[in-house]
Amino acid sequence: MLKSFADHIVFNLFGLIPGSRAGEALDFFIYDTLKIFLLLTTIIYVVAIIRTSFPPERTKRILAHEREYVGNVMAALLGIVTPFCSCSAVPLFIGFVESGVPLGVTFSFLISSPMVNEVALIMLWGLFGWKIALIYIATGLLVAIVSGIVIGRLKMEKYVQDYVWEMQVGNSEIKVMVWREKLEYAREYTFGLLKKIWPYVVVGVGIGAFIHGYVPQDFLAKWAGRDNPFAVPVAVALGVPLYSNAAGVIPIVQALTAKGMAIGTVLAFMMAVTALSLPEAVILSNVLKKPLLATFFGIVATAIVIVGYLFNALL
């Protein structure tokens, strides 16, 4: 239905010729933008309602009682539904370690939270289909779990900034929301998030549409295809300085995939953009000393590269 609506606008109203470059690019742009926004609005709203049950204070309390392994799995899963914005990364980190959440478990949460989220799920589902969306979520969780376990095993507690351990953390009650408040919160959250990410979606889909209409077929297959062993690490390295979110990156990589970029390379690139970013490193340097910060980046980057190779080999 959306497809025929987009076709109608482009080919009847604007009078562009089906099969022409401009026509195909515009058709792609209108169809994808509509589809993504419909999915985004519905799913963010549902996720926001779920989120009202998992404020960070509650997640912290759950994880404080978990040991390693089980704790890492729980942390990665809770990372999907616990709302937290990057500006509260420092108090969140301190709150977690102070209440006895093991360091590796804390990292599983910190890795999964920005990487595996509802926006990534929707964008992938809308543009690549549900299989790729599920694969991304499953491997993203795996990266978060494994990286957290490795960091925990390395016993790097001494590389947490000293002041963190001396901090006095108070106890605040968590107010339980009633249904009216939950729905109100979900409405505000959905529109707040849409307001923040819509320019990324439109620009991302726009660039994607341009690539879709104008870049020749198989253009990327030669150097970013599955036969190039350097494509995955290069994609991860390129992803780190890029500060974006799933909303802006996914439409672009979808178009790149259509032009021959291998899917594992694409997944790795997206994970690097969302889980490893320079601004995040700057924020985390407030609580982590350099060796731990470097280890964190190194382990997560390695895990992501492995995921990339794995999917280039399998898909």
Binding site: P55, P56, E57, K60, P83, F84, C85, C87, S88, V90, P91, L92, I94, G95, F96, E98, M167, Q168, V169, G170, N171, S172, E173, K175, Y185, E188, G192, N286
Partner: protein
């Protein structure tokens, strides 16, 4: 009455401070409004997601925004 807005300085934290200022102004109540940005003071309240609103030492909410009208309703 003392109103504290806890936040490390992100956009949401600034908006919450503005909303609290409006709420105080419109309600006509007298009170002191402070912005708390340093981590130890934020942690003292046990708040781990910002922005958060504290009225007379009691955490009203954390990790979300509230409109001036909502905040007005919380003022004693």
């Amino acid at each position: 009455m003392k109103i504290e807005v806890l936040g490390t300085g992100c956009a949401k934290c600034k908006t919450l401070y503005e909303n609290a200022r409006k709420a105080l102004e419109e309600s006509g109540k007298s009170g002191e409004l402070v912005k708390v940005e340093d981590i130890p003071s934020i942690m003292k309240y046990g708040v781990i997601s910002t922005p958060a609103l504290v009225i007379d030492g009691k955490v009203m909410f954390s990790g979300k925004l509230a409109s001036p009208a909502e905040i007005s309703g919380m003022l004693p």
